[in-house]
């Protein structure tokens, strides 16, 4: 099982939209996905129509190995399961502090689920905290949405600098988010960001009304607008993310 996290120090950059739509596209590509909503706002939980309730709160959630399975809920997509969030997750840092090796805690909770899922997708709250460090300890890749804003590059630099000091840091996979190609400033900033961060994924998520409608539809874009350009974008984005997580290695065809 690979672990990816949609993460940014900044809020409102499209993390949850990316997590929910990438989960949908991953499932469509034959991947068994566990979305773990770590944000007390529970937006991913809401979008998957799952009840925002963590039994026993975040204390119980991080208390014992193997406990995560009891919190898993099915979604309307058969290949996507969800660990929902509720407001108790605002105390996650506090409860992690009381745990042994807190930065390894999330990885240890995911460990028993390795054979059940191909991908755990962690939707993180916007912060840099002990919970974030535990995410870094669990994740193979951080999917970092970057909006075309003047301070975006600085925020990304802060994250990369922080991870440079870690022994086993996840790969940072930045992706452009909420891009409005009609705005000259966005076009210029995108160019600058691409020049400065060549590792940015080629696909840029647009600022689009069809994506904003997710909150009304309570579903990934691919469910209610399967032919929309936004769905095609998330599909292309998933293809890039999948290549990072599972570098292509075609199996041998035995007989010619």
């Amino acid at each position: 099982m690979k672990v990816a996290a949609t993460y940014s120090i900044k809020g409102g950059v499209g993390k949850t939209s990316a997590a929910v739509n990438l989960a949908f596209e991953a499932a469509r590509a034959g991947v068994r996905v566990l979305v773990w909503d770590l944000d007390p706002q529970g937006a991913a939980t809401y979008l998957f129509r799952v009840r925002a309730k963590v039994r026993g709160g975040s204390r119980r959630l991080v208390s014992a190995d193997g406990a995560l399975a009891a919190h898993i809920r099915g979604s309307d997509l058969s290949a996507v399961h969800v660990v929902p969030a509720d407001f108790s997750l605002r105390h996650l840092d506090l409860h992690l502090e009381g745990a042994k090796r807190p930065t390894e805690r999330l990885a240890r909770l995911l460990e028993p689920l390795t054979d059940h899922y191909d991908l755990a997708l962690l939707d993180c709250p916007p912060s840099i905290s002990l919970a974030s460090e535990s995410v870094f300890g669990a994740a193979d890749a951080l999917l970092v949405p970057v909006v075309p804003a003047t301070l975006a590059s600085r925020t990304l630099t802060q994250l990369v600098d922080f991870l440079d000091d870690q022994v086993e840091a996840p790969a940072v996979v930045p992706l452009l988010s909420m891009v409005d190609r009609r705005r000259k400033l966005h076009r210029e900033l995108v160019e600058e960001l691409r020049a400065e961060w060549p590792e940015l994924l080629g696909t840029a998520v647009p600022a689009a009304a069809v994506i904003e409608r997710m909150g009304l539809e309570r579903a990934p874009v691919g469910v209610y607008a399967p032919s929309s350009p936004a769905t095609r974008v998330y599909r292309a984005l998933w293809a890039e993310v999948a290549d990072r997580l599972w570098p292509p290695d075609p199996p041998r065809r035995i007989v010619a």
Binding site: G30, R32, G74, D76, V80, P251
Partner: protein
Amino acid sequence: MPTTFTHPDLSAAAVADALTASGFEVDAPAPSTRVVLDTFDGRLRAAGLRLELRAGADAALVLLDQEGAPPARLAWDKAPQWPADLPPGPFRTRVASLTQERALLSLLTVTSQVRAARRVDRRGKVTVRAELHDRVVVDGELLPTWLVEVRGVVGHDDDRERAITRLVALGLQPADGDVVVAVAERTGHALEGRSSAPTVPLDPHDGALTAFRRVLANLAATIDHNLQGTIDDIDVEFLHELRVAVRRTRSVLAEGKGVLAAEARDRFRQDFGWLGQVTGPARDLDVYVLGWEGYVAPLTLHDPTSLDRVLIELQARRQAAHAELADVLRSDACRDLLESWRRWLVDPDVAASDDLHIGPVIAKRITKAQHKLITDGRAITPASPPERLHDLRKDAKKLRYLLECFGSLFHTKARKAFVGQLKALQDNLGEHQDAEVHLAQLRDLAHDLHARATIDTDALLAMGRLGDHLDRRRVQERGDFVERFADYDTKANRRALAGLLAEPADA
């Protein structure tokens, strides 16, 4: 775990109404097709998985996990024969890691008119799903009943239980498993695939002749089941299984001295010897092509494509060998052999005298085979010609076949442990033999390609390096033999075999 219901008297329309009355949203009927795919020997099923190509409203290639993990659903509309036909990713990797050298085959096709149904909670979230399958056709045969499958959603067990309780209250008969399982059970389709295991149930007090015929009949069935797949060259395992069954047959016939009638025994040994021989070249080339990457990878060639021409030639030879073999397997001679063999196996006159017990007969044969293996192995020195190792390999096979074909006479765990020791020796002898054969084939190929002027200097040089590599491998296996044989020829191992023969089979 899904539950599937039916009822002999209620109509599908009445069940749809009952679902609606229970709070289900029920869709209009839509055509549905499910094709179950697995290897011939059911490797996916053995791993607790089922691969289905679904067409209709639910179209996808679905990998269902019987162990409770969510299904993997790949947007795909063609039945793959090989995992390589699928896009890269975890789906393909999971399938490929299990199927390995075996092709995917269609085991069962179910078509129906399906009405998808679901119950949703106040958030609009699905909490339980149902599918009502009507006009179910299985491999062309119409089932006289409808089926309704109820499947829960993780975290909503109560909703599933309530739905099941309602259907049971209507008098519907539940069974564990989904629609495909229900259909397979009703129509007698085996989803577990065909095993080529040589072990048949035997009792030490069974008549020896009866036991030999039971073992041989099982091997004959394996030959029959693998014949068409070999002719069609579906995957390399059909030929391998057929070939092993032929060799086992021959070996069991040889061990049947004093039990089986001499005339028939000699005749069929000779005939199966011929069949074994004609299958050899195609199998040798299968092994060569299968092992190609392993041979070439360590060479670290300057130009990795320099041996492509050789591989293409090998594949062409392989195809030609398989075509030739298919002709033989379709021939009157082969058909006559297999028909007369089947007739002999069921001929009641053959069983006229059956006064020996199989237990002591096989114990004696195994003791003798072990003695020959040990004696021949100890006689091999660094100066012995390679043929001695080849002969020893045959000794080991003979012993292994006895232990496997008559395996039910012995304690399973102890037998498998001993066979494991024997297998380690066989692996060494097999690797040595493969390197010998492949080196000879490579030389022949080099001469042939050079004579036909169809190979450039770089490729010839690369073939030289491959030849060196094969020769080093041969020498290394030969060098390892002393240690491997010493590992086998231990007092503990000899005692283990003696204990195995003295112990009764599992209760």
